[in-house]
Amino acid sequence: MDGAPEVLPARFAEWFAARGWRPHPHQLTLLRAARDGRSALLTAPTGGGKTLAGFLPSLIDLAENPREGLHTLYISPLKALAVDIHRNLQIPIEEMALPIRLETRTGDTPASKRQRQRLDPPQMLMTTPESLALMLSYPDARKIFQGLKAVIVDELHALAGTKRGDMLALGLARLMKLAPESRRIGLSATVAWPDELAAFIAPGGAPLLRITGAPGPLPEVSILATQEDLPWAGHMAVHAIREVLEQIRKHRTTIVFVNTRAQAELCFQELWRLNDETLPIALHHGSLAVEQRRKVEAAMGAGKLRAVVATSSLDLGIDWGSVDLVVQVGAPKGVSRLVQRVGRANHRLDEPSRAILVPANRFEVLECRAAVAALKAGSLDGDRPRPGELDVLCQHILGMACSEPFTADELYLEVSGTAPYADLARKDFDDALRFVENGGYALGTYERWQRLFQDSLGRYQVRSDRVAQRYRMNIGTIVEASMLKVRIRRGPSLGEVEEYFAQGLLPGDTFIFSGQLLTFVGIRDMAVEAVRASGGLPKIPSYEGGRLPLTTHLADRVRGILADPKSWRGMPEPVHEWLRLQQWRSVLPEKDGLLVESFPRGDHQYMVAYCFEGRNAHQTLGMLLTKRMERMGFKPLGFVATDYVLAVWSLDPVEDVDTLFDEDMLGDDLETWMAESSLLRRTFRNVAVIAGLIDRKLPGQEKNKRQVTFSSDLIYDVLRRHEPDHVLLRATRADAASGLTDVSRLAGMLARVQGKISLRRLDRVSPLAVPVLLEIGREQVYGSALDTLLDEAAEDLIQEAITGPMQKGLL
């Protein structure tokens, strides 16, 4: 390693040698950049010594120039990661006896320690974006941070483009103001948008060195060739669980990733039903009690488990050396996500990660093949980071006012210097500031009750300690749904479900939770009370938790496979045959353009559109299409959306699909629907919490059961009527367009297919349409479709609710 001696001091070189390590080239490059005071973005695969690379310059600087005061700030998206890095970094510090104090500060840090950290900060502090925002809101923030030399942002790819990322970018801008000399280091996995990440770390074209670590060997990813029947529809892959168990048996430690909490529950249960040898297999997902998750993680760390069934709750996190296989049950939905999951096996650079994909149905076979091809080609997906959101800006403005006085001009300059807010209009900033000040309503009745006041220099300051206190209680951009604990009788809590889900349960309904089939008894003392059920399939499939739509990139590849029979080679015979039948009975969807099939079945006429734009966009499309079909007189009755297609049924067959799918549906119809949509209401609630209008519910702050809940829906209705252009409503619409309704993606598709829509009239259902028709009545209808009920089908549904069976079966 030439060049190593000149940058690596002897003490460090010896320490590396004593461990039998050689510094990675990217570690040395980063070291040189730091010597020159340059910021850097390091992109490297997991296991590449990325974190040590980030810290090495600070360790050396502090070893050579010992000093007091905060020197290096490390920011990670996960508390657990901050704690783990702390532990790992303690080793070189102790072994080389470096004069460095290292501390962690997260939401779990006791108040006394936090207080002490403010008065006497350590040289190195490991924290999260939320804790950084909190520290920056202190009046003594300047004192704490002015001597800062380096800021390390870990797992940057997981933060950029999210609201947490917006919050962090604003925090970094403030740090830059308090400590203009400090360097920044971004650590990231490989992403599809490296320029955007670079801009995040060094906004406005500031100098930045981009370093790319050597790629590890390509992962070995295969698709399970099941011996069982491959289902036409469904997402649970129950057919393949025996084969998954076989793989677990053959490996040391396996992580079985699934896409939703419902899948996790069912998969775990099925594994244990077949687990005659009682291999230690655990369950991990975001609804389980924290203590239970920590227990599972500890058992994993100690190598005591043979497998853990997990959702995205384990996508990020601490490395477990013993994991030698990753199984992905259900299609991966995105390439970047798959890369991340696969990377959790064998965190060692020199060995390839091993993974097996388990498609749950025929379409998922195509999706899995598309994902493997993308992985081999090294092409990634993920959306380009969207602009910063106004609700986060509101929160930040209040935080800054809690810290020290500012003028509107100064703060606008600071904020628009960040990458997410680079294009922020001054009007939007001013409206956000007005909102923070007193709500910003046109009706000026609140001028008596300002949260901020302007001093004689025109600088804004927070009016009272109470306002600052309330801000500090509400920091953060993750708004948890209101949760209820789940108990068996009066026993200990098994975990939590969304209140929304619990409210839909009727006594006697069965559902799976924490690996058990439970019967709902009632809600008592703000907890769901249940008893163990005797067996059978759960009546209520489960709650939404964690479903992500298919990415555009993967969808493109699936379309490519469908359109090109040459690429079918090696596909399982049933899938092969299915596609050949489609070719014969109808046509295959083309790579560009849009295939629409229309056929009668029973008393109804069906229209199936092969859009491949993901479930959310399809649901929005379904809403808009049925409205338009109503007007055109086709008498639509309902629709169902999957990740791949949309099916609409009506009394009369559709004609003139060009008009039906015209882009102008995104005009007034969309506007009208969005305004009334329950999705928008839910989005508004999150926006209102983040912007500081509504207090978040804090854990432990149990609602008094007689206390009347305060509804954000009511605020939404009143605000929409009287001030439709209020900054919070603008924020809500922007948020919804990119999130749950996926309007942006729908718009892209409609534009792409104009003039290229082909209608295929068939006398009966086509092979490719079978899966979606099987979803009818089985698929939970979420979000947008919920609204159709209230307008059109209420009588029937209520009748069904009262007299008929609810949800029949799961598969």
Partner: protein, 236 residues
């Protein structure tokens, strides 16, 4: 196939102690014979109460509530209005109410026989806005009007206070809204105020009030939906 039952409409009639009453989809109860509107839990000036504490909720709640009230009064040709308490969110409401809203309310109270029953939020309803104050309860014919339902009551009690709401999910879709609850003896009204929240009809409070169950009339999308007794209990 059976014809679909008529379950949704903008009004529902029921009889309590022999009196014909009309449930209105606005959340008001109408006694047509008396040209009386009965309204619960207006919570006027709730938003400004929050704003005073640094939570700037939109200041349009009083205006919105008064507009709704005017609409009910006009639609049913109302002569008398009985407000079942918690009409004002707190004692400071009178000092905070915008002059134009106060004038609007004064015009209403002047034009109708207006009764404010005191509630826990407004034990002393705001003065200077017209109407007469009744502290505990008020009765007319066989009906008794209270803020909070009494533990023991005869037939014919009408009250507010609890802000009942109901939700049920069918095939993953949710119907949710404020509701009227009643049995043979008593009727609990939903909150009328624009920013008044709600308490789930399955809460224990209602089980004690209605030991042998209750009927539910749910307000969703400006319509009333009648859920039969026991909709919230297990089905066979």
């Amino acid at each position: 196939m059976l014809p679909p039952p008529k379950l949704r409409s903008s009004q529902v009639t029921l009889s309590l102690s022999g009196i014909e009453l009309l449930l209105d989809a606005s959340g008001a109860l109408i006694w047509p014979e008396q040209r009386m509107a009965i309204i619960a839990d207006l919570h006027l000036e709730k938003a400004s109460a929050y704003a005073e504490r640094g939570v700037p909720l939109p200041p349009y709640d009083t205006l919105t509530t008064l507009e709704r009230l005017e609409a009910v009064i006009a639609a049913h040709d109302i002569a008398q209005v009985v407000c079942l308490g918690d009409s004002f969110h707190d004692g400071g409401a009178g000092a905070r109410i915008a002059p134009c809203d106060a004038d609007r309310l004064r015009r209403l109270t002047a034009a109708h026989d207006w009764i404010w029953i005191a509630g826990n939020h407004d034990p002393e309803p705001v003065e200077g806005l017209g109407g007469r104050v009744v502290e505990e309860e008020w009765a007319l014919g066989p009906l008794t009007f209270r803020h909070i339902a009494a533990r023991e009551t005869g037939e014919g009690e009408i009250s507010g206070h609890f802000h009942p709401k109901a939700s049920l999910v069918v095939r993953g879709r949710r119907l949710s809204g404020r509701c009227f609850l009643h049995d043979r003896r008593r009727l609990v009204l939903p909150a009328f105020g624009a920013f008044a929240g709600g308490l789930d009809a399955r809460a224990g409070a209602f089980t004690s009030l209605f030991p042998s169950g209750f009927d539910t009339h749910l307000i969703a999308r400006e319509r009333l939906t009648t859920l039969p007794r026991g909709w919230h209990r297990p089905r066979a």
